[in-house]
Amino acid sequence: MSSHRTQEVLYETEAALRLVDHGLDGLRDDTAESDAVAPLSVMSGGLSELPAILERANAQILSVLTRLRESRAAIESTALEKLASTHEKIREVSSATEDAAINIMDACDRATQMVDELDTIDATPEPDRARAGEVRSTLRDELFLMMGALQFQDITSQQLAHASAVLIEMETRLIDIAKLFDGKGDFLEQLPKPEDSAPDSKTYDPNATVRDSESRQALADEIFTSIRVSAA
């Protein structure tokens, strides 16, 4: 169920609850007036309407219960789907961070070995300058690869921004539900609005991933090539 439909169900539930509240207030006022001033004949007339009032209240309560069940189902399906996707993103962040750390540590190990080899070359009476040049070139490549591995930071920050946006959306919905059951909502009004701290949706891609970059690059190349060919 879409978040728009969930919102609609919540509003409908709120409207139904207000109707019940209004009906029960009316019933209480009628009874209070009858107790205070009405002669017995009038009071008996009011009492004769009681079954009909209770029947209406019952129907409205049943309607509210139906709406509440629908709301619960909507919230469950939307929340579970979004939370599952968010959980997956956070797991990928953890995995990408670990992969990058391992790649950088491996490169550090290789770089250290190359520095050792350069020391060995330098320690010989007639250093092999050509070999030393090759090792230095490979060492530069390794250092460059280490820097490239840090690209994970840009992608994982986008994934975390997406996870943060989902959590803020959930928080907003929970507050909306809480307001349904607390008309005054003094406490809720004092809370900072969750959407104020939401990440700017323009700054991240919800689908950002470190996975399958080669196949995703191949798709981009294929699209650019095919459109250029058809335009030529």
Partner: protein, 123 residues
């Protein structure tokens, strides 16, 4: 040849600038979003490398604005982004991007794409 590198991630800007230096391009200008890039762009820039998702002005909006300027109509624009669904790639093309790199990228891919666009940059 002067490159304009546009990305809101300082890490990514540094990676791209270092990659450029490694393949022989040392003259670079950096910008953190599309608005800043538009302000920094001038006739001395021969090549633009831009991210997509940025605050204030996205990479696609920046490219459209650049294409509307007489001095930016023909400059090669290479988009480097995490976005990689077909619709996004088509949108980037429609905005005026000349080629597209998916993050995370290898230095080899960056070099290939730049090499392919160099004739246009030199024109």
């Amino acid at each position: 040849m002067k490159f304009l590198v546009v990305d809101d991630s300082a890490t990514m800007r540094r990676i791209v600038v270092n990659s450029l230096q490694r393949i022989g391009f040392t003259d670079t200008v950096e910008a953190g979003d599309g608005q800043e890039a538009l302000a920094r762009f001038d006739a001395s820039i021969s090549f633009v490398i831009t991210d997509w998702n940025m605050p204030n002005m996205s990479g696609t909006d920046f490219t459209r604005a650049l294409r509307a300027r007489p001095d930016g109509a023909n400059v090669p624009v290479l988009m480097v982004t995490a976005r990689s669904v077909k619709e996004d790639i088509l949108t980037a093309m429609e905005a005026g991007v000349n080629n597209y790199i998916v993050k995370p990228f290898t230095p080899q891919v960056l070099k290939e794409k730049i090499d392919a666009l160099l004739p246009a940059a030199a024109a």
